[in-house]
């Protein structure tokens, strides 16, 4: 276990729209250790991307961080609360990209269409370092080389539309590395890519993590990708974490009914299933989150008298679940919940 790098405490983010208030994140707690990968998994609308944006204090209006602390242990003795920083001020701008870098799902929209790759990389390097153009160019070439792009000198003059999806994501990763960040936030970085390209990018991210020792916050809806990448996992549903544990526990001894149901509902390429156990109903409307346990309308274990106000409880050492009934139906140690 490394040192704590980032701690999110009781984070609440809401979007104030004319149609109503969307409580996108309501009470999320995360702890990220230096050099480790935390996977955040959930379906669309569960608040995983908003959490990531909040960590960089760049929730877009009409969204707002209502309450909570985002403690950045850049200096272990003097944590900075990112939520309190001016979102356009110099402090947060140094943190963004300098210490915490982010890559997005669609690299097409993260790269400028009218600037060459070289222009964008050199600008980023020079913004954060005292480097001459020549030094920045040199560093860009090295980084592009490092992320597995051939002919990096030629690439510097290329524009985003000339690159394939996999190449764009590699460029984004190279840009994220320009300042040797201590935390890389990856928001669905491989969702838009084909499987063979996805596996290349995942391998690259693992290698770079070993080399640079950065922590990764990996956000995805894909349980297969989580299983491959994460050390620890937070499962989110409608703005709350429903379960937190290390990756092996999540996949083999899941405690929360939602995690269990999710694992049983996915088809697998390595196991033949006659019929999938689907989760009943739909993901509720975000304006209208069910009261009490938000999962209760879809839960097999729901009891009206018990499920009114679940709290996050530690069901086993290091495993937390937001469910009032978990202790009653906890699978025995070692039993596979997804078999």
């Amino acid at each position: 276990m490394g040192d704590t790098l980032l701690e999110v405490r009781d984070l609440h983010v809401s979007f104030y729209l004319t149609e109503g208030i969307v409580r996108a994140v309501s009470g999320v707690n995360l702890t990220l250790q230096a050099g480790r990968t935390l996977g955040v998994v959930g379906e669309s609308g569960c608040g995983k991307s908003v959490t990531a944006r909040a960590i960089l204090n760049m929730v877009q209006r009409p969204g707002r961080i209502d309450q909570g602390e985002i403690l950045w242990y850049g200096d272990p003795d003097y944590p900075v609360d990112i939520a309190q920083l001016d979102s356009r001020g110099p402090d947060i701008r140094n943190l963004r990209w300098g210490e915490i870098a982010m890559i997005f799902q669609e690299p097409m929209t993260s790269l400028s269409p009218v600037h060459s790759i070289g222009n964008q990389m050199i600008e980023a390097i020079r913004l954060h370092h005292n480097a001459t153009d020549a030094e920045a160019t040199q560093q860009s070439v090295e980084l592009l080389n490092r992320v597995g792009l051939s002919q990096p000198e030629r690439l510097l003059g290329a524009y985003r539309h000339e690159l394939s999806g996999g190449m764009r994501q590699r460029v984004m990763i190279a840009m994220a590395l320009t300042c040797s960040p201590r935390l890389l936030i990856a928001d669905e970085p491989t969702t838009a890519l084909d499987v063979t390209t996805q596996s290349q990018i995942l391998d690259l991210m693992r290698d770079l993590q070993d080399e640079f020792g950065m922590a990764i916050l990996f956000i995805t809806h894909d349980l297969g990708v989580i299983a491959e990448m994460a050390d620890d996992v937070a499962v989110m549903y409608l703005g709350k974490e429903v379960e937190i544990a290390d990756v092996d526990t999540i996949f083999h001894q899941a405690a929360h009914p939602y995690t269990q149901a999710l694992l049983r509902s996915i088809p697998r390429h390595d196991v033949v299933t006659e019929r999938l156990e689907s989760i009943v109903g739909n993901v509720p409307d975000p304006y209208n989150i069910p009261s009490g346990c938000a999962f209760h309308p879809r839960c097999h274990h729901y009891l009206p008298e018990e499920c009114a106000d679940p709290e996050l409880v530690e069901v086993r050492p290091g495993q937390w679940a937001l469910c009032a009934r978990t202790p009653e139906f906890l699978p025995a140690s070692g039993e596979r919940t997804n078999a």
């Binding site: 499987v195 063979t196 596996s199 349980l223 996949f251 149901a261 996915i266 697998r268 993901v283």
Partner: protein, 347 residues
Amino acid sequence: MTAADDRLLGVRDLRKYFPIWKRGVFARHVTGQVRAVDGVSFDIARGEVLGLVGESGCGKTTTGRVILRADTPTGGEIHFTHSELGEIDLAQLDREQLRPVWQNIQLIFQDPYSSLNPRMTLEQIVSEPLRNYNVLEGSALRDRVAELLLLVGLRPEVMSRYPHAFSGGQRQRIGIARALALNPQLLICDEPVSALDVSIQAQILNLLKDLQQEFELTYLFISHDLSVVRHLCDRVAVMYVGKIVEICDTDDLFNDTRHPYTEALLSSAPTPDPRVRRRHVQLQGEVPDPANPPSGCYFHPRCIHARERCQTETPLLRETRPGHWSACHFAEELELNVAASASDGTT
């Protein structure tokens, strides 16, 4: 490939080239061709589910569209056994002749948001094919719509509402109800669950499986997701740059593939189990441009098993053992064992 008497669809050497235009001084002229579908052949038996998998740009969607004749093929034959007209070659038909065919071949789309007209009610959407072919009218039409909605798990009372009131999964159910309205013989499903959330995917996959078994439907199931294909399909065809590289029974494909591309595809797919972090067969480079494919075997620049012969000689799809077709020169001798590397548990 399958016995001719229960064959519903037989595709032979199907080709679809898209011209690349360049504007000249006086007129546009063709400078090249994108070979989106390049000599594809397969059969689908009645009541069978054939999966068509491949990465984006491999031509799987174009194949589906050409079979439906939404696009005109550049060449090849599409033999379809029509319930009334008998066996016909769809590639030869014009628009007027295709009308009765479209009654028998329907399409389920990937995106449930753009495939439903937002200004039509559910009743109008689902009844449109029936009205189009004058199959039913009046209260019988309404009853049929109600029946179809029940079939796909929606309450008939919702038929006067508009699509915006429904979630992605419910919309996909509406799209399936519309596709089933005319009792088609063949359903072409183009990535029907790719746009859906994880917990909703299972519902739609179960629905498609139930409907298939209940009505003995025939699906051409287009997908990039190997786990979905394994769950639903009887046989699978793997496409790479416009060609089928392997076609066989689903279990056979996953347990004993005879093509290096399939091996790479299978090993790239992430497994939802952290105890099986396995060695990937890492593919170098990217999918080639179908306008300018490599010589010989299209896969040779990325293939870890490639030999000299692969650079010059294009392999043909051949039956390497009964029911298992592979387009690799060395299909019989290569050691492609995905299952073994999956269980050794190393990172």
